[in-house]
Symmetry: C2
Subunit: 192 residues, 2 copies
Amino acid sequence: MTTPPARGVLRVLGIDPGLTRCGVGVVDVSPDRSARLVHVGVVRSDPAAAIEQRLAIIAAGLRAVIDDHAPEVVAVERVFAQHNRQTVMGTAQASGIALLVAGERGLPAATHTPSEVKAAVTGYGAADKRQVQAMVARVLRLDALPQPADAADALAIALCHAWRGGRAAAAASGPLTPAQRAWADAERLARR
Amino acid sequence: MTTPPARGVLRVLGIDPGLTRCGVGVVDVSPDRSARLVHVGVVRSDPAAAIEQRLAIIAAGLRAVIDDHAPEVVAVERVFAQHNRQTVMGTAQASGIALLVAGERGLPAATHTPSEVKAAVTGYGAADKRQVQAMVARVLRLDALPQPADAADALAIALCHAWRGGRAAAAASGPLTPAQRAWADAERLARR
């Protein structure tokens, strides 16, 4: 179990869903938008294993991260049907597992599109992966880019959620979207 | 808990994955291909609820069906990316949950495409839904078509798995596909 976040700091678990490599990144984000790395890693499953066993391994790995680091909210990269059809279904299934595990632990979850993540982290929605990774390393004051890329992506998703959600919730005048509601709930918890 | 199947009879749980309505059907299939209805139903989740809560509700509902009826194998309809993009991701996530629940209960799982299901049940891969439902009702000696359609589809998937897997495993000369391996394992269990 990691040290709990300081008062007012939001701990976010970002997940880059995948069957073979599922990136996980936990960050503590302060109200002034500064951020600290809590955990980064990858949950792997053997491509030769049966799909039902692979999904069970991923679920177990994600539960372990939640139990070890106690995030207050889970952010998952949104999967699109128009991507590579051979892998998109596995990615979608892994994203379902990520959301399920959040729900079963009583954590709010939100999804963000790849371009939302890029825009939130670099200020530019068409940024390339390398630019996103470099910015993640800089924000978290890491000596090197997190490896593999799935792990760096997970950190970017977590940062995106904290930064976007925070502003969105503060600016919202109408009913909250699920992501905004998740943030608002998480903020409330973080301030207790 | 339902009565266990007779010796040599395979109990299959068929799942028609969906977020709003997830069809579930349990059938006992004899080596002579005759079949008996054990359970049919639908696990529902509220479209207004958060996705992580919907997936948790579906997982809990599927686990309850497995615990109540003790199937030996789980068959899930395969989802395709080219279908309606607005719902396909939710369906893919629900299918991931179905496979996960099977894996976590130690059950082999297999997926079948809609046309495999139609062909196995009616002998015709382009059969319409009504023809499939009518054949399911006839095979299981039901007085009426199972309602809603998702429940009937789940029964068709279960029958498809028993009928296709059985023949495929018997005829297989090369390495088994995951579905065939699942059947072979299930047959072995059923014969103990």
